[in-house]
Symmetry: C2
Subunit: 396 residues, 2 copies
């Protein structure tokens, strides 16, 4: 039978998708499984796309992106981070995911080691594996004050074959945000060792009790091997639009343009025009959205942590509650059971690599009333089970 | 200095882009360099996108594509090719280019050989090289009756390490269309040897004196290693939209879905809705567009073949005149000179691999009056040079 190459056949499928598929055809499921809210894109962004279509912005654009969009990204970076970037450092991509894939294609030879801090969104490791990279996981530890990274463990994991360290801060699924000290230590280590530091910054504006997460590119020179990947999906509620960008050393500009050409040419043209509108006008909408997320975080964490056998830390960023269920060792089976029996769609912790098993993830980027309803269902479900029955369920 | 891996640093840049950059800032250039016409997307397709935006089709879709779009592709394939496909065989992709990259990621291990019939659009080979594939070129030969493929040369080029043969028919840049006999022989050979046959079918509807080019998937069973890559860019004038699809054996469905997830998640959601409209209503527009291309083909080939030292065959498909200039050995330098001195943007033959040097490519998918003006400029330019001065120019 025809089959893909071994590297691809052996890649773990998306376990979140497997849970969602198990609920296929059910009409009354509250979907908190994917990394996406229920908030549609703002009208002024949709209007910009409609206007671009009317103006026939339907032809090819330069591989590095629409010049106006690259400039709008520069202006945004200056405004939010106080950082003046040369245009050469910016490549527009068809989503943060596409940005990660282009970076892996640019840097990872087969057999190169890629260190990933976990639990983490599985697609960072997935893109590295497609290119033949060997993924080495460094787990965060959960303490009383939340998730913490021991940078020494990252250093100890880096060997001769390590080509890159990947950080996703704010983290999907844990909500962990790197602190300035750890960021500086990582940057210093990578600089000395000639290792690339790849920062998945897509949640950098989704933070609580501050305006933005630490942005390691700010501390890097043009010559440093530091890359930031960003996306319009979360901050501007544009998941289905597929638009993002990379900030990289100027020396990578040519390689990233060639790789855009060989992957997709570039993102959809009129979507790039809409991206200019998002960056130029979107800041005004952010406080209201973040206030809603903040309220949902309070609801989710307060009510989940009151469930029997459940413990959960307060996320400093992103929009997920990543909660531990006592005695749980098959999060996929439990997530499937919760879909069927409670009508709530959750992501299994096993999807997020080392240290993720035993947990479930709920996306709380939804309307508070929807979230309240989901919490009510989970309370009823957890009231009916105890750790023993949970353990039996694991063998289903 | 930070730099990409060797494999990427050594990839030949896009020579067409280099010519276009050399004309940057010039206001009076007739651009015939890219594979794109000047015809904007039809209103009913743009309207479908606007409607989808109004309906908030701005969220994630399944990795294999919008179910309605997969079904519309099945119906289109049945209608045009008389071929009933299972839905599992269809994966929606963010452009034909993205389809090619996903296929290379699914199949090509580092060191695998990929046989490409040339002169060919360079991105097929480019995607294979990104994955560490070794590209082996089999040149077409130009006879009095046009470009011809000697399938025996393909067979002779395939060795133990050959994983795939790539065919682009109708061909960019030559306009060559594979005949049924050569297609059957290739399929038979690949079947016996367990080699993948990857067909870039994006120009399959842009043909002259017939309704469609031979479609090798029609001759293949579900178990055959035959893949077709298609695109909305050319047939529906949607270059900037980034939408295409793959037809593959059902055994690849899961791998291609995972790879969509790790590359881009999927094409822009409302663009997929517009794709349904294109397939369901676009057939009515095609005759007028093809009649225009036909007229432009006549203008381009008649007038180019009358130039001193120029010879050109009649393309059976696609929308390019690929013409030979006597004595030319540096097509890049000549293309740059023609931009500067004649104000016409052409692609250098060297961009298209083995057998391409000595040629220039003009895209004739433009309004006849624009094309007439470009031909007039080229006539004035070629009247002023002779083979000797052309050869001197090659060393510029």
């Amino acid at each position: 039978m025809p089959s893909p190459r071994k590297q691809i056949a052996e890649i773990t499928p998306n376990l979140i998708r497997e849970v969602a598929d198990s609920g296929f055809g059910m009409t009354d499921v509250i979907p908190l499984w994917f990394g996406e809210g229920d908030r549609p894109t703002a009208d002024y962004i949709k209007d910009a796309a409609v206007r671009a279509l009317a103006e026939n912005r339907v032809f090819y654009l330069p591989n590095s992106g629409l010049p106006d969009l690259r400039d709008a990204i520069r202006e945004y970076t200056r405004r939010i981070y106080g950082l003046a970037l040369r245009r050469e450092r910016i490549t527009v991509t068809a989503s943060g995911m596409q940005g990660i894939m282009l970076v892996m294609q640019a840097l990872i030879d087969p057999g190169d080691e890629v260190v990933v801090v976990t639990p983490a969104w599985p697609n960072l490791a997935g893109a590295a594996r497609v290119m033949g990279g060997i993924v080495c996981e460094v787990p965060l530890s959960l303490r009383n004050d939340g998730w913490r990274l021991d940078v020494e463990r990252v250093f100890d994991t880096c060997g001769e074959k390590t080509r890159a360290v990947c950080i996703n801060s704010p983290s999907n699924p844990t909500g962990w945000v790197i602190d300035e000290g750890a960021g500086a230590a990582l940057l210093d280590f990578c600089r000395r060792r000639g290792i690339w530091l790849i920062c998945d910054d897509v949640y950098s504006r989704i933070v609580y009790e501050r305006n933005r997460a630490p942005f390691l590119v700010c501390e890097a020179d043009d010559e440093d091997r530091v890359i930031s990947i960003n996306s319009f999906s979360k901050t501007w509620s544009m998941t289905g639009w597929r638009l993002g960008w990379i900030v990289a050393p100027p020396e990578l500009e040519r390689a990233l343009a060639i790789l855009n050409e060989f992957n997709i040419a570039g993102p959809t043209s009129f979507v790039q025009h809409a991206g200019v509108a998002a960056l130029n006008r979107g800041e005004a909408d952010l406080p209201e959205m973040l206030a809603s997320f903040h309220r949902c975080r309070d609801i989710a964490i307060t009510r989940l942590s009151a469930l029997p056998g459940v413990s959960v830390g307060w996320p400093d960023g992103a929009f997920y509650a990543f909660f531990r269920v006592e005695g749980l060792s098959d999060s996929l089976a439990l997530a499937k059971r919760i879909v069927r029996e409670a009508g709530v769609g959750l992501a299994p912790g096993a999807a997020f690599g080392a240290g993720g098993e035993g947990y479930l993830r709920a996306c709380f980027a939804t309307r508070p009333e929807t979230l309240e309803k989901a919490m009510h269902r989970l309370e009823a479900f957890f009231a009916g089970i105890n750790p023993t029955s949970t353990r039996q369920e694991e063998r289903v």
